[in-house]
């Protein structure tokens, strides 16, 4: 009788598993960034598209080649290399030569991720490492010659713009920064909608916020990190009198919602995340106000990344029951 019985695969429990997977999460992140990326292309022109494509290609190729070389299972479809390439592109000047973006993402994946052992093992946010590499290697292309917004692919709004609002704020003060961005749509509109000079993805706070909201709704991220980054920036720029300009500008939103919340390089418990976010926010403000860069969140996150594993050990989950102590 027994020989006719079917046999079944043995597997360890639990025998049910959530529908969520690493690659689904990554593709959701990528998808939520798409509106901001497309808007960047729309506002800044076709070079922005080349930068995005080159950056993604550099990331994907580097991951593929290094996995082939090491004899590892290729994991391109998990979407994380695409994510790094996309994020890097969104944080650079839309006028950056595409080959430089390609190099930047090669660095990001090669020396920021694969050399540590691949996804899950890297200490620093690869996209931000790539950006730091570009800042060091091509500082001129990264920080000047900003593309001017040219909505509807028409005439540039301001033919002579060469600096971002934050850079102008740093060098020439609030008035000049306001003047730079306020025509023709008004300062806050310009900051929210993206009609102002800046990195490809950072210009439209609105679209970044919508993407972030999608991730929140999908429970891929929580508010712990973004809110505490925000609080940190507000605290450390309050005395300048223009915290709103700081909060509404720069890579702050991309940084707070996408870079600082990167699972691998941020802490996992809520309390550690709050400490981490505050640290990023405070460092960002300090760099912007006292440091040499108008934009500080990139380095602030990289510094905080180094602390993430320690923060997880300092702020541990609360046990519901301790051995040997009835309550």
């Amino acid at each position: 009788m027994s020989e006719t019985h079917p046999t079944f695969v043995l597997s360890p429990g639990p025998h049910l598993h959530t529908e969520e997977s690493t690659s689904k999460i990554m593709w959701w992140v990528n998808g939520s960034l798409a509106p901001a990326a497309l808007w960047g292309v729309f506002v800044f022109g076709i070079n922005a598209a080349f930068v995005i494509l080159a950056s993604i290609a550099g990331a994907v190729l580097t991951e593929f080649v290094s996995q082939k070389a090491l004899g590892r299972r290729p994991t391109l479809m998990d979407g994380s290399a695409v994510c790094t390439g996309l994020l890097l592109a969104l944080t650079v000047n839309p006028n950056l030569p595409a080959w430089q973006a390609f190099l930047g993402s090669m660095f990001a994946i090669g020396l920021g991720k694969m050399i540590f052992g691949g996804l899950g093992f890297n200490l620093f946010n690869p996209a931000l490492l790539g950006r730091a590499f570009l800042m060091a290697t091509f500082p001129l292309n990264m920080t000047s010659g900003w593309a001017t917004p040219r909505p509807w692919f028409g005439v540039p709004l301001d033919a002579v713009t060469t600096a971002t609002p934050l850079a102008v704020l740093k060098e020439q003060g609030f008035e000049a920064a306001v003047k730079l961005v306020s025509s023709p749509v008004g300062l806050w509109n310009a900051l929210a909608l993206g009609f102002r000079p800046g990195s490809i993805g950072e210009v439209s706070l609105l679209l970044v916020a919508i993407g972030g909201a999608a991730l929140l709704a999908r429970r891929i991220i929580t508010l712990a990190i973004p809110l505490s980054v925000l609080a940190g920036v507000a605290l450390s720029t309050l005395h300048t009198g223009v915290p709103m300009l700081h909060l509404m500008s720069g890579g702050f939103w991309i940084g707070a919602f996408y870079m600082a919340t990167d699972y691998v390089t941020s802490p996992s418990t809520t309390r550690a995340q709050i400490a981490f976010g505050l640290m990023i926010g405070l460092l960002t403000g300090m760099i912007r106000v006292y440091g040499g860069y108008p934009e500080g969140i990139c380095y602030a996150i990289l510094i905080a990344n180094a602390m993430a594993p320690a923060l997880d050990l300092w702020f541990r989950p609360k046990r519901t029951a301790i051995a040997g102590s009835p309550s």
Partner: protein
């Protein structure tokens, strides 16, 4: 005395909401398996020593007759069907592959089931007599653990528990057998609970039922209100439907607010936990001296043709039970005995039903580890899911790099393997197994230390 508490109770942190998957069998009444042609009774199907056969090959036995003695730590076995004893031999066992087992071939000449007349004194039995009836009836925990009930009761009494918590949570997805038992035998469960409370010395009974079973809550509540023996208050406590609401520690906290210390039993805070199906068995044992002969289980999952709640004689072949449920679909890939969260996957159907098996779930689709697993992406989901506040992520990465003995601060010794962490991990990491590896390494290291 029996009012259901208005707000829902639950445990403190963590937990998950896997799809309940109970629709397929929730509305199906308990159906009897036609008497099988053969039953196989492994001598060991619970913790403790194996049973010692007290019948000879070829002997005719009637359903209900004792066929093996329980010894000092175990429980006896009874003939679940009338028939002829086959020789004790090595036969397939669901979890031990092969084990010494008695078998009975059905035979009408053996006679009908023994009669179990009521003992009119059943409510006022002396303690010793009650305990011995529970023991003689072969009752083990029917929630899945299968620990001999008489020993658990004896232990609870010695530990001076004051509260009996009845587990009707049935938080495992797919399973509905406890639910159907609560609907079919509410009075037996409530009476049985009072009997258990008396044996254990508990002063109060709280019956925890998940709120997605309102009719069970109502049925049990009514039965409790109708109790004539009011010496021990019985209360139904509706709990949030959330896994692992039915885990002992979580349930005790949910219904009583008491926190069971890690690595200890509920008796540490004066609580005894029993499953509702066990209460029904205890009731039969004390009132009628009727031994445990059948087991009610849910046969379900996407791989079964006709999902059902089945009452089957112990020792019936799983193949017979599955056939009674229309057989399996060709795409059935895995079979789980028990609930899909904490149950075990079994390789084959030609094994007998044993006392602790409360469900049989036929699953399709690929299972855990069949496609490998990924690195920890430090997403923190496992931390949020663990009801105990342990750190399966930290344990897993330490085990991976060979630092098993560094896992104690992260809770490896406290883990009770509920599986919430593995369930939520987007990298499909076998976190429960990492916890097990760390736990056994730590225990072994501690044992070697204390031995030297």
């Amino acid at each position: 005395m029996t009012t259901a508490t208005s707000s829902l109770h639950t445990f403190g942190r963590g937990g998950i909401h896997p799809g309940p998957h109970k629709e397929a069998t929730a509305s199906r009444e308990i159906e009897d398996l036609p008497t099988p042609s053969e039953v196989v009774l492994p001598l060991l199907q619970h913790l403790g020593e194996p049973a010692e056969p007290c019948v000879k090959k070829g002997e005719m036995v009637r359903r209900g007759q004792k066929i093996a003695e329980g010894g000092k730590t175990g429980v006896p076995l009874h003939a679940p069907i009338s028939g002829k004893i086959k020789p004790v031999d090595k036969r397939p066992h669901p979890t031990m592959a092969i084990a010494m087992s008695l078998a009975i071939g059905a035979n009408v000449d053996a006679g009908p089931e023994l009669e179990f007349p009521e003992d009119p004194e059943w409510r006022n039995l002396p303690l010793e007599e009650s305990l011995s009836r529970v023991r003689e009836a072969g009752i083990v925990g029917l929630g899945g653990a299968a620990f001999p009930t008489w020993r658990k009761l004896e232990f609870a009494r010695a530990a001076k528990v004051d509260l009996l918590v009845m587990n009707g949570a049935e938080c495992e997805p797919y399973l509905t057998s406890d639910y159907r038992v609560m609907l079919a035998y509410p009075t037996e469960i409530v009476e049985g609970s009072v009997l258990i409370a008396k044996i254990a010395g508990a002063k109060k009974v709280l019956i925890g039922v998940e709120s997605d079973k309102p009719d069970a809550i109502e049925a049990i509540g009514k039965a409790a209100a109708a109790l004539t023996d009011r010496s021990i208050p019985v209360e139904v406590v509706p709990c949030v439907a959330r896994y692992p609401q039915g885990a002992e520690k979580q349930l005790v906290f949910a219904v009583s607010g008491r926190t069971v210390p890690a690595r200890q039993l509920p008796s540490a805070v004066g609580v005894l936990v029993q499953n509702v199906a066990t209460a029904q068995a205890v009731y039969d044992a004390l009132r009628y001296r009727k031994p445990l002969l059948d087991r009610i289980l849910t046969v379900t999952g996407p791989g079964i043709v006709q999902p059902r709640n089945v009452r089957a004689p112990l020792g019936a072949s799983l193949a017979d039970i599955v056939e009674f449920c229309g057989g399996i679909k060709p795409e059935t890939h895995r079979m789980v005995a028990g609930g899909p969260m904490m149950g075990r996957s079994l390789p084959r159907l030609d094994v007998p039903l044993i006392k602790g098996m409360n469900g049989l779930v036929m699953l399709t689709g690929r299972g855990p580890l069949e496609d490998g697993f990924g690195a920890c992406i430090r997403c923190g989901r496992c931390l949020d899911a663990c009801p105990l506040g342990l750190e399966p992520d930290q344990v897993s990465v330490r085990v991976e790099v060979g630092r098993t003995l560094d896992c104690e601060p992260h809770g490896a010794l406290d883990c009770y393997e509920c599986g919430c962490c593995s369930y939520v991990c987007p990298s499909s990491r076998p976190l429960v197994q990492f916890m097990q590896v760390a736990k056994s390494a730590l225990r072994r290291a501690a044992a070697t230390r204390s031995a030297s």
